[in-house]
Symmetry: C2
Subunit: 88 residues, 2 copies
């Protein structure tokens, strides 16, 4: 099995762009995709997950979700990290 | 066991207020607290969780996390829901 395809969510790409990137990855390269977002991008992670789930339905399963924090520019910032798995 | 104490995170209260409310609840009324936030409040849920975890450390365990969506004012909106459990 390949390493999970990793996506760090940022403001520079739209939810739809990330969703397409994830579907593309699942169809071609990898069985697992990790999606991570920090601070204000955390809600975008949730939107991306819901959108992927709505499109692929039982084609993906949610492997795990973690909430953590890390230091960026000397500030502690929360992140949400989840991993989805191709189910086909 | 009592029903879980439920918190719907909104803009009207600060992270610190929620953290104090949760610690108070865990100390007095209940063994489980559910925290839910939608849309832009999702990242606040993560901040609240990290802050509670930092304060209580092994005193709380994360029971589960769910990402879902629901319809509000005819728009589909993502939410993050988690449940923490008193470990003492």
């Amino acid at each position: 099995m390949n390493k999970p395809y990793q996506i760090i969510v940022s403001r520079s790409k739209s939810i739809e762009d990330y969703v397409l990137e994830i579907i593309e990855a699942l169809n071609h390269n990898t069985e697992e995709v990790e999606i991570k977002g920090s601070g204000w991008d955390i809600n975008k992670v949730a939107d991306i997950y819901n959108s992927v789930k709505e499109k692929l339905k039982d084609g993906v399963t949610l492997d795990y979700i973690t909430i953590g924090s890390e230091t960026k520019d000397r500030r502690r910032i929360s992140y949400l990290l989840l991993r989805i798995k191709r189910a086909y």
